[in-house]
C-alpha cells in the first residue's frame, strides 16, 4: 500500500546569517494508511518543528512532505489553507475549542468552513460525537466540559471531515491520568474502527504505548524506531521506557 504520509530528507534551519539553528536535519519516514504513529523525543529534539512542518503551519528549509500524493511544501497561500481544512485534522494540547460555541457547534464548524451542505451537518456531527461518547454534552459550552471531554470534542472535530491524516500534539498533556486513558482508548478505537491515520507527538511513554509504531527523534534526526507488533500494551510500555532511559543515559554520557 502507498504511504499516506512520506517525509523525505526534511531539513529545517532557523535564523539567518550568523546565528543558524538546525532544528531538523535529513529526516525521512513513511506512515501507512490506518497507522497510529507516535513521535517521541525530549524538548528541543525537533518533534514540534516536525509536526509544524507536517501540519503546514511552518515551511521546511529543504526536503519534501507528501500527504496523500500531494507535495505540501509546494503549496502556497489559499491552496495551503484549503489543503489544511480538507485533508488534515488537528488535536492540540490545549484543545483549542472556541469558547463562544457549544460542543455541537465546535464540531459542526469544521464542516461549515468546508462548505458542506447544511442538511447533512447535524447527522454527521451526531455520528462523530457518538463515536467519541459525547452524546450527552453536545449542548454544553467548553467551560462546562471537563478537560477530557474538551479533548474528545476536539478529536470529533478532527475526524468529522474524514481527513487523510490526523495530527495530535500532546493531546494528553493537560489531562489527568484517568481522562488521558479514556481519550487514548477512544483514539485507538477510532483508529481501529474508521481506519483513521493518526500521527501523535508526545513526550509521555504511557501515552505513546497506545501507538503501533514510535519514532524517536533526537537532535533533529531519527534516532530509533520501535514497533509494537503483537506485544501487549504493558510490554510495549516497558520497551518504550527502556528506549527513553537509554536516550537520556546517552545524554548523560556527554557530560
Amino acid at each position: 500500500m502507498d504511504p499516506i504520509l512520506s517525509v523525505l530528507h526534511l531539513q529545517k534551519i532557523y535564523g539567518g546569517r550568523g546565528s543558524r539553528t538546525r532544528a531538523l536535519s535529513d529526516l525521512s519516514f513513511d506512515v501507512a494508511p490506518g497507522e497510529f504513529v507516535g513521535i517521541m523525543g525530549a524538548s528541543g529534539s525537533g518533534k514540534t518543528t516536525l509536526l509544524n512542518c507536517v501540519s503546514t503551519i511552518d515551511r521546511p528549509t529543504a526536503g519534501s512532505i507528501i500527504i496523500a500524493g500531494e507535495d505540501i511544501t509546494a503549496l502556497r497561500g489559499r491552496a495551503l489553507s484549503r489543503f489544511r481544512r480538507e485533508r488534515l485534522g488537528f488535536i492540540f494540547q490545549d484543545c483549542n475549542l472556541l469558547d463562544t460555541l457549544t460542543a455541537f457547534e465546535n464540531i459542526a464548524l469544521a464542516l461549515t468552513i468546508l462548505k458542506a451542505p447544511a442538511g447533512e451537518i447535524e447527522d454527521r456531527v451526531q455520528k462523530a460525537a457518538g463515536l467519541l461518547g459525547l452524546d450527552r454534552v453536545l449542548d454544553k459550552y467548553p467551560y462546562q466540559l471537563s478537560g477530557g471531554e474538551c479533548q474528545r470534542v476536539a478529536a470529533a472535530r478532527a475526524i468529522i471531515t474524514k481527513p487523510a491524516l490526523i495530527l495530535a500534539d500532546e493531546p494528553t498533556g493537560a489531562l489527568d491520568s484517568k481522562s488521558a486513558r479514556m481519550l487514548l482508548t477512544q483514539l485507538a478505537q477510532l483508529n481501529r474502527e474508521t481506519g483513521a491515520t493518526i500521527l501523535m507527538v508526545t513526550h509521555d511513554a504511557f501515552t505513546a504505548s497506545w501507538c503501533h509504531r514510535i519514532l524517536f527523534i533526537r537532535d533533529g534526526t531519527l534516532h530509533q524506531v520501535l514497533r509494537r507488533e503483537n506485544m501487549d500494551r504493558r510490554a510495549f510500555f516497558a520497551r518504550i521506557l527502556g528506549v527513553v532511559g537509554q536516550m537520556e543515559g546517552d545524554g548523560a554520557d556527554v557530560l
Partner: protein, 616 residues
C-alpha cells in the same frame, strides 16, 4: 534617546493609535470650526448691521464650547485608558527590565504629547477646510455673493483650540503618569488575562424580551405621534422611559432573537462562519447592550438635532419671505387724528421719495366694527378697503389675489405690510363702507429704486430725524432689517445644531470603535484557532467585517427609525410655523453622518483586522 523611543513607539503603533488619533483630530477640527465663526465674511457682514446678534451667537458658541471640551476631554481620557490596557504587557516589560517607573511615565507622557501635537496640527488643517465649507454654507444662506474669495482664518480660534486641547492633554498626561506610578508590576504582566465569564439568557426568554421591547417602543411611538412632541407632562416622561426601556430590551435580547431565527434556517446558520459570528455577537451582548443603547440614543440626538436644525433653518427662511412682502413699510400710529404726507416730510429731511422709491401705496387701516362689517371683532380687529387691498396685492405682484368686490366683507390672511402689524387676519370691506369705520392707522409701503442698501441707509437716517420731530408715532420696518434678524436666529439654530450634533456623533462613534478594538484583542486566540482549522484569511476578514458592521449599524438603524418617527412628530410642531424640508435636510444629515461614522467604521474594521491577523 528617550524621545527616539517614544517616537518609534508612536510610529510602530500608529494604527493602534488610529481611533485615538481620529477622535483627537475630529475634536480639534470641530472645535476650531465653530470657534472661528467670527472670521467668517457672513458674520462680519452681520456684525456691521446687527452687532448685538453676532455677539449673542459668539457668546453662545463660547458657552457650548466649554461643554464640548468637557465631553471631548472625557472621551480622550477613555480612549487613553483603552490604549493603556492594550499596552500593559509592553509597559510591564519596561518595568521588568529595570526602567524606573518615573521613566516609564515620562515615556508615555512624551508619546501622548507627540500624538497630541500631531492631532492638533492635522485637526487645525482639517478645520480650515471645514470652516471654509461652513462659511460657504452661511454665505448661501444670506444670498451673499462676495467679489473675491475670502479665506476664513481666525487666530483667536487657533489660540483657543490650542489652549483648550493643551489643558485636555495635560490632564490626560497627568492621569497617565499617575496610573503608571500606582500600578503593580504583576498586574501589568498579567494584563492579557481575561476574566470574561459567559452568561447567556435562554433563547425562549430572549424572544419574549425582544417582543416586549418592540411592544414598548411601539407604544412610545404611538404616544408620540398621537400626542405630539411638545406636551410635556407626566405621560411625556413615561413615553421617554418606555422608549428607552424598549430600546434597552431590544438590544439585550437582539442577539438571542437573531440566533433563534438563524437556527431555524439551517442553510443560513451552517454557512461558512455565520454560526461563529452570531455566537460571538451574542456572547458579548451582556457587556455591550448597555453601551449599544447609549450609543443608539446619542446617535438619535445627533441625527435629530442636525436634521431639525437644518430643517428649522429652511422654515425660518420661508417665514422671512412671508413677513416682508415690501422693501419697507412705515406705519403712522397717529394716523387716526394726524394723517401725514410722508413723502413730503421725508423730502424735508433730505430723502427724495420720488427718486429713491418706486411703486408705493399709502392707505388707511380701519378698526373693524362688527355692527358695520358683520364680522366679529374677536375674529379680527382691523379692516382694509377693497381698492387699497387690491393695490397692495398688485404691488406684491400677486394678481391672483385681487378681488372683484363680490362676497365682501371677508377675512384675509395675506400679509399686507412688511414687519408686524399686530394682526394675523383682517377684514376686506367694500370702499363705500369705510366712512362708517374709524381709522386705526396710516400704512405706507413700497419698494426701493436703485441700490437697496444705500436707499435703506438714507431712509433709516431720514426716518430717525423725522421720528424725533413726530415724537415716535412713526414705525419703519424694512425687509433688510427683518432679513438680518431672521438670519441671525437662522444661523444660531444651524450652528448650535450642527455643533452639538457632530460632537454627539463623534462621541458615539469613538466609544463604539474603542469597544470593538478591545473585543478584537480578546478575539485573537479565537481567530488563531480558526486559522489553524484552515479558514482562509479572506473568510476571517469577512467575519471581522460582519462583527464590526453588526455593532456599528444595529444601533444606527434603530436610531434612524427613532429619528424618523421623532421628526414626523417634530414636523407637526414646526409645520405650525412652516415646514421641515425633509428631503434636503435628510440628505445633508445623512452625508454628515456618513462621513464621520463611516470613517470610524473603516478605522475600526482595519484596526480589528490588523489586531486579529496579528500573529496567526
Amino acid at each position: 534617546m528617550f524621545c527616539k523611543l517614544a517616537a518609534r513607539n508612536v510610529k510602530r503603533s500608529i494604527r493602534d493609535y488610529s481611533v485615538y488619533f481620529l477622535t483627537l483630530t475630529f475634536g480639534v477640527c470641530i472645535f476650531y470650526t465653530f470657534n472661528s465663526l467670527d472670521a467668517q465674511p457672513a458674520m462680519r457682514y452681520l456684525q456691521s448691521t446687527n452687532a448685538g446678534m453676532v455677539g449673542a451667537i459668539l457668546q453662545l458658541m463660547d458657552i457650548l464650547s466649554v461643554f464640548v471640551a468637557v465631553v471631548l476631554g472625557c472621551l480622550i481620557l477613555y480612549a487613553n485608558t483603552f490604549l493603556m490596557r492594550r499596552r500593559k504587557r509592553e509597559l510591564g516589560l519596561y518595568l521588568m527590565l529595570g526602567l524606573p517607573q518615573s521613566k516609564v511615565s515620562l515615556l508615555l507622557i512624551l508619546e501622548t504629547l507627540l500624538i497630541g501635537v500631531l492631532a492638533l496640527v492635522t485637526g487645525l488643517a482639517l478645520g480650515q477646510f471645514l470652516a471654509q465649507g461652513l462659511s460657504a454654507l452661511t454665505l448661501t444662506m444670506f444670498d451673499l455673493r462676495l467679489d473675491e474669495l475670502q479665506f476664513v482664518f481666525s487666530t483667536r480660534a487657533i489660540g483657543k483650540t490650542c489652549l483648550y486641547f493643551g489643558v485636555i492633554f495635560l490632564v490626560v498626561m497627568a492621569f497617565t503618569g499617575l496610573q503608571i506610578s500606582r500600578t503593580k508590576l504583576i498586574d501589568l504582566i498579567r494584563g492579557a488575562r481575561k476574566n470574561e465569564e459567559m452568561r447567556q439568557i435562554p433563547l425562549g426568554a430572549a424572544v419574549a424580551l425582544f417582543l416586549l421591547g418592540l411592544a414598548l417602543v411601539g407604544t412610545a411611538y404611538a404616544m408620540l405621534l398621537i400626542r405630539g412632541l411638545l406636551r410635556v407632562d407626566d405621560l411625556f416622561w413615561l413615553m421617554l422611559a418606555m422608549g428607552t426601556a424598549g430600546t434597552l430590551l431590544i438590544f439585550r435580547s437582539l442577539s438571542g432573537f437573531l440566533l433563534r431565527l438563524a437556527k431555524s434556517h439551517k442553510a443560513l446558520y451552517y454557512k461558512g462562519l455565520n454560526m461563529f459570528v452570531l455566537r460571538q455577537f451574542s456572547s458579548r451582548v451582556h457587556t455591550t447592550y448597555l453601551s449599544m443603547t447609549v450609543i443608539c440614543l446619542l446617535l438619535l440626538l445627533a441625527i435629530g438635532i442636525t436634521a431639525c436644525s437644518v430643517g428649522m433653518n429652511d422654515t425660518i427662511g420661508q417665514l422671512t419671505e412671508q413677513s416682508a412682502p415690501y422693501d419697507f413699510t412705515i406705519q403712522n400710529y397717529g394716523g387716526d387724528v394726524n394723517p401725514m404726507d410722508l413723502p413730503g416730510l421725508l423730502e424735508k429731511e433730505g430723502f427724495s421719495a420720488g427718486q429713491s422709491l418706486q411703486g408705493t401705496v399709502d392707505c388707511f387701516l380701519y378698526y373693524n366694527d362688527s355692527a358695520v362689517t358683520g364680522i366679529s371683532e374677536d375674529e379680527s380687529g382691523a379692516a382694509l378697503s377693497l381698492s387699497d387691498y387690491n393695490a397692495l396685492m398688485e404691488l406684491q405682484g400677486k394678481e391672483e389675489l385681487v378681488l372683484d368686490g363680490g362676497n365682501l366683507p371677508r377675512l384675509s390672511e395675506t400679509p399686507f405690510c412688511t414687519g408686524s402689524c399686530g394682526f394675523e387676519r383682517y377684514v376686506v370691506v367694500p370702499d363705500d363702507m369705510t366712512p362708517s369705520l374709524s381709522v386705526r392707522r396710516q400704512v405706507w409701503s413700497g419698494y426701493y429704486a436703485g441700490d437697496k442698501q444705500d436707499t435703506e441707509n438714507a431712509l433709516q437716517a431720514a426716518m430717525k430725524e423725522l421720528n424725533s420731530d413726530e415724537s415716535g408715532m412713526l414705525k419703519l420696518e424694512t425687509r433688510l432689517d427683518i432679513y438680518i434678524e431672521t438670519m441671525g436666529s437662522k444661523v444660531l439654530v444651524l450652528f448650535v445644531g450642527l455643533y452639538a450634533g457632530m460632537v454627539f456623533l463623534v462621541a458615539a462613534a469613538a466609544v463604539l470603535a474603542l469597544q470593538q478594538l478591545t473585543q478584537a484583542t480578546d478575539n485573537i486566540p479565537r481567530y488563531r484557532i480558526l486559522a489553524r482549522l484552515g479558514v482562509e484569511a479572506r473568510m476571517r476578514d469577512r467575519s471581522v467585517l460582519s462583527q464590526v458592521a453588526l455593532s456599528f449599524f444595529l444601533p444606527l438603524s434603530l436610531a434612524v427609525v427613532h429619528a424618523v418617527v421623532g421628526m414626523k412628530a417634530a414636523n407637526a410642531v414646526i409645520s405650525q410655523v412652516g415646514r421641515v424640508d425633509s428631503v434636503r435636510n435628510s440628505i445633508i444629515t445623512a452625508l454628515l453622518l456618513l462621513a464621520v461614522y463611516g470613517t470610524y467604521f473603516l478605522a475600526t474594521y482595519w484596526g480589528s483586522r490588523r489586531i486579529v491577523r496579528g500573529n496567526s
